[in-house]
Symmetry: none
Subunit: 244 residues, 2 copies
DNA sequence: ATGCTAATTTTGTTTGAACATTTGAACCAT
DNA sequence: ATGGTTCAAATGTTCAAACAAAATTAGCAT
């Protein structure tokens, strides 16, 4: 592998090194607990000073991607420790971060009359048609989440979009609608017959139910989302900060 | 205000400066959009090199407490800008918001040897004694959550505190320890014999398990918290904002 | 073998210096 | 006034060097 940096480039060396290291630690040769070359050598190899190298590693250390230990060396943080504050990860991003390849097991698009709950949230009249998207998704070992999404008519979805692609991509690229704020509710429920069958569980098994209300930058409702996660396979991770 | 630092102390200068700056920016004189003294002057005034000062400001900048602008100066981030994430409600606050009066059904305090998991999180040696707090709490209709908390020895709890009062009150008032950041994991599990008995459910019933890692403003671990919520009665609510 | 000691390796801390880049203000010519 | 240039101030980048502190390793004495 030939990780090198460009001294004549206009972008700062420590930024180049930072990006380079981000690639490095994704590389199986270094990933997950492996040692990085020691600072003095690595700096020499890259043709930069140790300080500049540390400028980059400092940032990655803050983010929790690297763990340094005095007298020992620098290792790539194990995944469990990881999970840095991504402000609001979409499902695809969440899974990618965990190194899980997403498989769509089922995908169903339909137009449905808004019931009271949805009409209230969307602030539209009851009975108006809204797009409903149902997806059974999971990893190589089988499905582990059943999604139901309703979209506000305003976003202009036709139902003919390619929903195998990440949702945020469809919304942002094709419709310039940017989700901004979400409100969530999470509870534990027992699987009913339907969900048990979809997720490969027994009725009564624990399921994580996540309701998500999504708003655009103008605080207008754009999506109502329900997710049913297999209790044994999904870990929902949150990182939050307290107001002073 | 005579902010000074101790050159003979064993704790690194840049850490002292970092803490000093944290106080500074809470000071009304600097808080909220005010300019910090320029780097060269401030370094000189503190009797340290500019690099050491930047080591501290870098961290605060990364945390979003300071905003630096080339050619202009460094200002304290305004709170509105800094509200990058939601407030972080404690259990008491959550319940109060829902209009539920909290009742402590059981309360048990003990000292326990830290196992590997806890020792790792607290960054202490395995087997060291830590305070363990177990609480069965709920509303008028019965208990609906079982809490287990472990506290870092640093916070200095004796075990004789009045734990019927809100935790954050005990920590902030008596020990000036302010929780700042938390990491959470939520999964759905089936109730075991013990939890079913405590929460008045049947074994196998769905339970929401919440792991919470709590850090102080210096990112030092202070509490490890486990919460087991009755699936049918508790709603966990989250509000988050997306970075643009 | 066991346990202590010393050497080595590696990251941590700190300083000083030089130059680049960006911003804003002062100044000047039209 | 307007526009452009210059200058000063502030942060940004980068290097070289020295010593401190912690962890591991090697070696030595018992």
């Amino acid at each position: 592998m030939n990780y090198t940096i460009d001294h004549s480039s206009s972008i700062p060396l420590h930024v180049q090194v930072e990006n380079l290291l981000r690639e490095m630690i994704r590389d199986p040769e270094f990933a997950n607990g492996k040692f990085l070359p020691n600072e003095v050598d690595l700096a020499k190899r890259l043709g930069i000073s140790r300080n500049t190298l540390r400028q980059a590693t400092n940032k990655l250390t803050y983010e929790g991607l690297l763990v340094r230990k005095k007298g020992v060396g620098t290792i790539v943080a194990t995944k469990s420790v990881n999970t840095r504050l991504m402000n609001w990860p979409s499902f695809s991003q969440e899974m990618k971060a965990l190194g899980i390849k997403i498989i769509n097991y089922e995908l169903h698009v339909s137009w449905e009359q808004a019931d009271k709950k949805i009409a209230d949230f969307f602030r539209i009249s009851e009975g108006k048609k809204v797009l409903k998207l149902e997806r059974l998704r999971g990893g190589p070992d089988g499905p582990f989440v059943y999604f139901i999404s309703y979209f506000h008519p305003r976003v202009g979805l036709t139902g003919n979009e390619d929903f195998s692609k990440p949702l945020y991509e469809i919304l942002e690229k094709n419709y310039a609608t940017i989700a901004q704020l979400s409100k969530e509710e999470i509870i534990a429920i027992a699987a009913n017959e339907f969900l048990a069958q979809k997720l490969g569980m027994k009725p009564g098994d624990p399921i994580l139910k996540r309701k998500r209300y999504v708003f655009d930058p103008g605080s207008r409702p754009i999506e109502y989302n329900l997710g049913f996660y297999r209790g044994d396979s999904f870990v929902y991770t949150i990182e939050s900060e307290r107001k002073l």
